[in-house]
Each structure stands twice: as C-alpha cells, then as structure tokens.
Amino acid sequence: MSHFIDRRLNGKNKSAVNRQRFMRRHTKQIKQAVSGAVSNRSIQDLQSSESISIPTKDLTEPVFQQGQGGVHDRVHPGNDNFIAGDKISRPQQGEGQGSGDGQASDSGEGEDNFIFQISNDEYLDLIFEDLALPNLEQKQQAKLTQTKTYRAGYTSDGVASNINLVRSLQNSLLRRTALAASKKRRLKEVEQALADENLAQDRRQALQLELENLKSRIKKVPFIDTFDLKFNNFVQKPVPNSQAVMFCIMDVSGSMDQATKEIAKRFFLLLYLFLTRSYKEIDVVFIRHHTQATEVDEQTFFYSQETGGTIVSSAIKLMDQIIQDRYPSNQWNIYAAQASDGDNWAEDSPICSKILDENVLSLIRYFTYIEITHRPHQTLWREYEQLAQKHEHFALQNIRNVADIYPVFRELFKKEVA
C-alpha cells in the first residue's frame, strides 16, 4: 500500500535557517562585498537587490583528496580512432580527457567567486548595520505633535454626524419599555375587567376612564429623547512623526567637477536610503548654490553645470526660509546634508556658522557636512569645527575619494554606545 501525502502546503523555507547560518558565517566577506558594491555600482539601482561575490577559497570544505599525478588507467566511452598502444600527447588542462578531477575551481588557484543574490532588505540591513539616527530618542518625546484619530467607544454628546443609530435606538427602546411597562400591564388588567359582562355600571365607567387615561399616558412616552442619543467617540492620540524632509545642499560653483558631484550624490543617496528605513514619507529638497542659492529638481541638481564664486550662506538662508515656509519643525523631522569642496568666500564662512547656530540648528535633527577635497581645509571647515563642538547634532567629515564615502557615512551615523 502506498501513501500519498501532499506536502506542497508545508513551508518552503526549510533551508532559511541554513541560509542564515551561511550568511552569519560569512558576514565579514559579505560586508566587504557590500561596501565594495556601495562604491562601485551605479547609483540609480542602489536600492535593488545585490549580487554578493565571495572568493570560493573562503567557502571550501576541505576533505582528503587525491591530487594531480600518479599513474591512472581510466576507461572512457566512444572510441572513434584509437587502437591499443597509441600514444597521444597530454591534453591541456581542463579538457575532457582528464576527467578524474573535474573541480578545477576548488584547487585554490582558480579565484572563482561564489556569487549569490541577497534581497534588497538584507542588502540594506548590511549597509546600515549598527547605524542609528543620532539624537532620535530624546527629541521624539518632545516633539510629538502629530496625532492620529482612534475610535474610543460611545459618548452621550457629540455632533449630529456622529450619531450612532443602533445604540441610540437601543436606548430609545429601553427607555420606552421602562417608562410604559407598568402602564401597559395595568392597561391589560383594565381591559380584562371591562370584558366581564357582569360588571357594575359605575365601576365600568371608572375603568373606562382609567383606560383612556392609561392610553394617553402611554402615548405620551416619546419615541426618541435626547437622552437616548449616543455618539461615536473619537480621541486623538499623539503618534511619532513619520514624515521627514531631507535637505541636500551642494556647492555647484566652478570648482566642483563632475567627479566631486558624483561623490556627493552617492553620499546623499546613502543618507536617503538610510532615512527611508526610519520614516515612511520623505521629502527631499535640493538646494544648489554658487553665489546664489536656488531650489531645483534632482536632475538639475546633479547634472547641470554652473560656474562662479561661492557664497555658502546663501544656501543656508534659503534652507532656513524653506523650513519656515513649508516644513514646520514640530511636524517634520528635518535632516540636512551639505556637500562642498570647501571653497567659500572667506568672509562668508562666519555668517554661515552664525545662521546655523542661531536659526537652523535648533530646528533640525541632524546636520552633516561633508567636504570633498584633497586640499587643506579652509575657513568654512574651521568655522564648522567650532560649531560641531557646540552642537551635538552637527557633524562634519572629509571625503577624499569614492572609497571613503561608505566609511565616512558609517562614522557619521555609528550607533553610540550608551
């Protein structure tokens, strides 16, 4: 007797644990591959899933095997032209004849890579592992200004549009029953008594009167009373802000070449992805500046060419303005990242620092400044350094080339050990 069992509905992820074990064991290599990927691959698809490639030699499970050499006499099928005693020259490595050891890639020299896909979530998890948004917790409590409406039972007063019909009519029925029950009972008795043929005339009249009286009193119990009305009750509960706005500020003066902008763009993108993990909705505001600042769309921001001098404060001012106009800080979590090559008109730097110090920094969650340059720092950096000492949520870092982006990003957002 054979038994058939339909296992198709059983879970298919029987191997999930083993896959995790694999990931766990190779965390180091996978992380390396991921950080390589962050700086190497094209930016547009940073959010799609990632192929991870690990050197095969890190994955081998060695066992005792026979190596090359020795004397072998092997049988093969399909003889087409050989007779016993033929001598043939040794075939090149990897050709079909030496079928004894078909695992060339296991021998160590073949730097074959073991490539596999990790999901987008796993990828982002790895990128942002151990990172946290700074100062999030203290502020969240203070700024809980957004609320959400929840139903909370019934109440006896409210606006007409919230009347709950079922509850109201239940109350009405209850009240009418309560008020009329004794009278109805009496009414029944009276009717019964009247039905008696032998009733005395005067008694009959009295009962008749009572009957009328009872009927009118029953009639007077109102069908619905304000007392019956029940309304759906709603309460407002504060919820953490789930919306954030990210300001990207970039210098587009003549000194910023395309390569520098590319670095900046990657940094902004990382920040954006990171924020998407904490917030549901994110607005991105692009501000570019040379001597003047303008708010632009993404395409213009990254790809249009500009020239001219540099006045950073123009951008800071514009940002301040935009915050005032559109993003009240009690409703929005505001993040800002500024990228520049460090060039600024020397007398402007203290102004930047001042605006940030007095206006902007009190409104926003975190401000990061990255300077993409190989040259020594200039006035802007020095001003900002002082600022960073005063404000916890202001950070600055220097990036020299593409490979620095990810480490610098990690440095900026590393989880602080309490």
């Binding site: 198709r8 766990r24 064991r25 087409d80 005693g85």
Partner: protein, 504 residues
C-alpha cells in the same frame, strides 16, 4: 490479461490528480509484484520546486541538522536553478522504511508515473534487498535517528553556542569520509534505545578516555615496552578513533562526532552502488512502463513522453563530446541490466563462453541475484559483457605522470576486454578513489601527538588542501597532528604537520 479489462486506458494527463496517481500506483504495484519486486511501504510526497531545492540542499536527509554548508548548498542550487543552468531532479528517494519519495508537482502525469516506477519500486526494492544496504543501514530507524541528531545538535547549540557547535561540525564534515566502518556491522537500535545508550555512553566514554590519559604515576611499574604502539593496529575509521580516544573532547562533542560518523555510515552503501542502484531503477521504470503499454493501459503519446525522458536519462556522450563528464551511471547501469536479460534470453556464442553460468538461465532470477549480491565494483567485474564494451566503444587511457605521452592501454577488442572490464571495475572501487589514510600511532607518553599515514594508490600524491584538513583534525584531537606520506617502498616520503599557531 483479459482484453476487455486490459484495454481500459488509465488517465492520460498531462495534468495529474491524486486519484490519477493512486490509479497508476495500483497498476505499477501490480506489475512490480509480477516481477517480484520486494519493496518497503511507499510514502509518496508531492512537493514544490522550492521544497525540492530544500531537499537537495539537505543532501538526502529528510530531517537535517542545521549547518552553514547546507545553506551554501541551497544558495548554489537556487542560483543554478534560477539561471536555468540546471533542472531539478524529478524525484528524490530516501532509504527508509516506509520509503519516502518526493515527487515534484511540476511533473506531468506520464512523468509522475515514470517516477513512481523508478523511485518507489526501483530504488525502493534495491534499498530493501541489496546486501550492502541490508548489512549497513537500518531503514526502519533512520528517520528516528535523523530526528535524534537534529534535536541533539539543536540542544548543544543552545547550551554551548552556535559557533562552538559549528566549528566542531566543520571539522567532523572534513573527516566524514573517514567515519565509516568497512568491515563491521553496526547493530540496529530504536530511537529510545539510542537516547538511553547515548546517556550511558557519555559517562562510559569519558571514563575510558581518562583511563588512557591517566597521569597519576603507576605504583606498580610494569615492564616498559617502548616498541608497543597505540593503536596496536592502524585505524581507518578516523572519526571513530577520535570519538573514543581524543583526550580533550567533552562528552557532547563525542556524541556529535558520533552523529556525523553514523550519518556517513548510512550513506556509505549509496556511494558504492551508484551504477547498480540507478541502473536497476531505470531498468524497472522502463520495463514497467513497457508492460503498462503492452497491457493497453497507456496511449502512444503517453509512451512517447516516457521514452523521450528515458532516452535523455540514459544518454552517454562520447569522450570527445563537449557534454562528456565521465560515464553516466544511469546509462551504464541500465545497459548492464538490459544486457543481463539479453544474455539470459538470447545468448550468443560469445555470451556462452563469457557467462556460462547465466547464459540461458531465468532472466528474472539472475537479475534479482545480481541486484542483491553485488556493489558497483564487483557488479561490473562480474557482468560487463564484451558486447556492451563494443556498444559503449570503451577504451582505456594510461596516464603515467612519469611519461610524456598518454597511452591507449586497451580498446574494445578481443585482447582488451578483460583489461577494460578490470579497469572500469576499479574505477568504482572506493578504496582507489578515496586516499588511504589511517591512524598510525599516538605518542601516549610524550606530547600526545597523533600520526597518520597515507599509503598512495598508484603513486598518486595527496591534494594540497591536506593541511587544511589536518587543521580540522587538530581541532578534534587537541594536540599535534602529523601526516606521513609513504612511498612505494613503504618509507616515509614526506610529512605534513600542523603548526600550533595556525590551527585554531
């Protein structure tokens, strides 16, 4: 077979239902009985492609313990499958009682019928009746043992940490091929006995090891005999030796070594009977399907699909084909069983000369005899006929690394038959394929170092990853480990040690 009943076609598919499968199973079972196929009860499980990948990666264990290497295997399978480089097997069958067979839901009805015949009656009867499986595996208790192993290892992970257990398993896996007994039969026991014994074993083993490594001075000095070695005979079962003698292992570690050893032992017969097992199953799915067709149970189109798949399975590319990757065990096995039947039914003069004892005998008796009493090596040595060698156009190539040229040592002709048959048989001899490494001695009185010996087969050196394997052995043994490679004169030619620093 009555014509009226026999002409009734079974459902023809291509889509299948469980009722269809049941109908086919009933018919196949009837035919299998006709051919005296003796099987365990079948437990046929229909699974999806994803589940098939899970089954793949657990290397034939329906209940496997957790280890990263299975995860790696899963990822590899998933990758190649998704890229379309590899199709999944139509079935996987487990040597257990009841015999578990996994069928893929994607298979068409004709394929499901083929697979049921192949796995549930072919492989199943092989598992139940081949002498190696009878002697070395206990089908009724293996699922319980897998379960025991999984739970035990999970418990160890909880108690001692995942990393600790993982390291130990890595080391055991590296030596897994050296965890089999070749000459002793293990006894079959049930799960509850196993658990009970495991507890006793834990205490007993530890006491034995302590006895061996006793450091308290002996007050009754016995006459010293320095020439006495430990172990007195070289030991080929390295994992067994470690389980019983490694000085530093905790009891739970010994138990895990034992688990890996037991599982290795369970799979050992399968490694030795690939050609026979697949050949037997293929022969029977072919024969049973033909029988169904002759009975008028299936249609021409049904049969064409069966034959199409069957032909793919038994294809043998020639040595110079880009698809050549050694001898296809399905092709060789199927051809041999078919050939044995031919020799019995229509022997030629040549067959009568080469196989006087089976030529003209009852083919079914002979086939069962061959299946029950041989493994690949002896099966080929016994039954490979000159006709098959001609059909396959076998030739043998002598590759001597001291010579500049390869030499064709024999081809499929009168002078070459015996040589080719002998060479092909040896190609399936595990002791020629797996390096012969044995525990030679332990320095009991000194630094407790362990010495292994490798006896090369035909001057073949060891693969250079040997030092990696030795590191694993070192982890288990806990003291220095040395591997001596002997030359043809039996002298030590070279030795590999694991420096303490590099072994962690």
């Amino acid at each position: 077979m009555t014509a009226a009943k026999g002409k009734q076609l079974l459902p023809q598919g291509p889509d299948w239902t469980f009722e269809h499968l049941q109908a086919y199973d009933d018919e196949i079972k009837r035919i299998a009985k006709h051919y005296r196929l003796d099987t365990y009860t079948n437990q046929i499980e229909v699974i999806t492609a994803e589940q098939m990948m899970d089954a793949y990666s657990s290397v034939g264990m329906p209940i496997g313990y957790n280890h990263w290497s299975f995860g790696k295997k899963f990822i590899q399978t998933e990758q190649t499958y998704k890229r379309g480089q590899m199709g999944l097997a139509y079935e996987i069958v487990i040597n257990s009682d009841p015999c578990i067979a996994y069928l893929m839901e994607e298979n068409t009805l004709p394929m499901q019928a083929l697979v049921i015949a192949h796995a549930c009656y072919g492989h199943n009867s092989f598992f139940k009746n081949n002498y190696l499986f009878k002697a070395w595996t206990d089908a009724s208790s293996i699922i319980d043992y897998f379960l025991f192993a999984k739970n035990y290892i999970a418990k160890c992970e909880e108690t001692y940490g995942i990393s600790e257990v993982e390291d130990l398993l890595d080391s055991c896996h590296a030596l897994m091929n050296y965890g089999v007994d070749r000459y002793q039969r293990p006894q079959a026991i049930s799960l509850s006995e196993e658990i009970q014994r495991q507890k006793e074993r834990k205490e007993y083993l530890q006491s034995q090891v302590n006895e061996l490594w006793r450091t308290i001075p002996n007050h009754h000095p016995t006459p010293q005999n320095d020439s006495e070695r430990f172990p007195s005979e070289p030991q080929e079962n390295l994992l067994y030796f470690i389980e019983k003698n490694a000085p530093l292992l905790e009891p739970w570690q010994r138990e895990i070594v034992r688990i890996v050893r037991k599982i290795s032992q369970y799979f050992y017969p399968q490694k030795q009977t690939q050609v026979m097992n697949e050949g037997w199953a293929t022969f029977w799915h072919y024969t049973i399907m033909q029988h169904l067709f002759d009975d008028g149970k299936v249609s021409d189109s049904f049969m064409l699909e069966i034959l199409h798949n069957h032909t793919n399975v038994v294809a043998q590319p020639a040595y110079n084909s880009p698809y050549y990757s050694g001898i296809n065990p399905y092709a060789l096995g199927f051809a041999m069983f078919t050939d044995i039947r031919r020799i019995c039914e229509q022997p030629t003069e040549e067959d009568k000369y080469w196989f006087p004892d089976i030529a003209g005998s009852n083919w079914l008796d002979t086939l069962h005899f061959a299946m029950e009493n041989f493994k690949d090596e002896s099966f080929i040595g016994q039954f490979l006929s000159p006709k098959l060698m001609r059909d396959f156009k076998f030739f043998s190539v002598l590759d001597d690394d001291s010579q500049k040229h390869l030499t064709i040592s024999a081809i499929h002709n009168e002078t070459g038959y015996r040589h080719i048959r002998e060479r092909l048989s040896q190609q399936y001899n595990l002791s020629n394929i797996e390096p012969n490494i044995q525990v030679y001695s332990v320095d009991l009185k000194g630094d407790r170092s362990l010495v292994l010996q490798y006896v090369p087969h035909q001057h073949t050196p060891l693969h250079k990853n040997k030092s990696e394997v030795l590191k694993h052995l070192h982890r288990l043994w806990g003291f220095n480990v040395r591997l001596d490679e002997l030359n043809s004169a039996g002298k030590v030619a070279s030795s590999t040690c694991v420096p303490i620093a590099s072994a962690s």
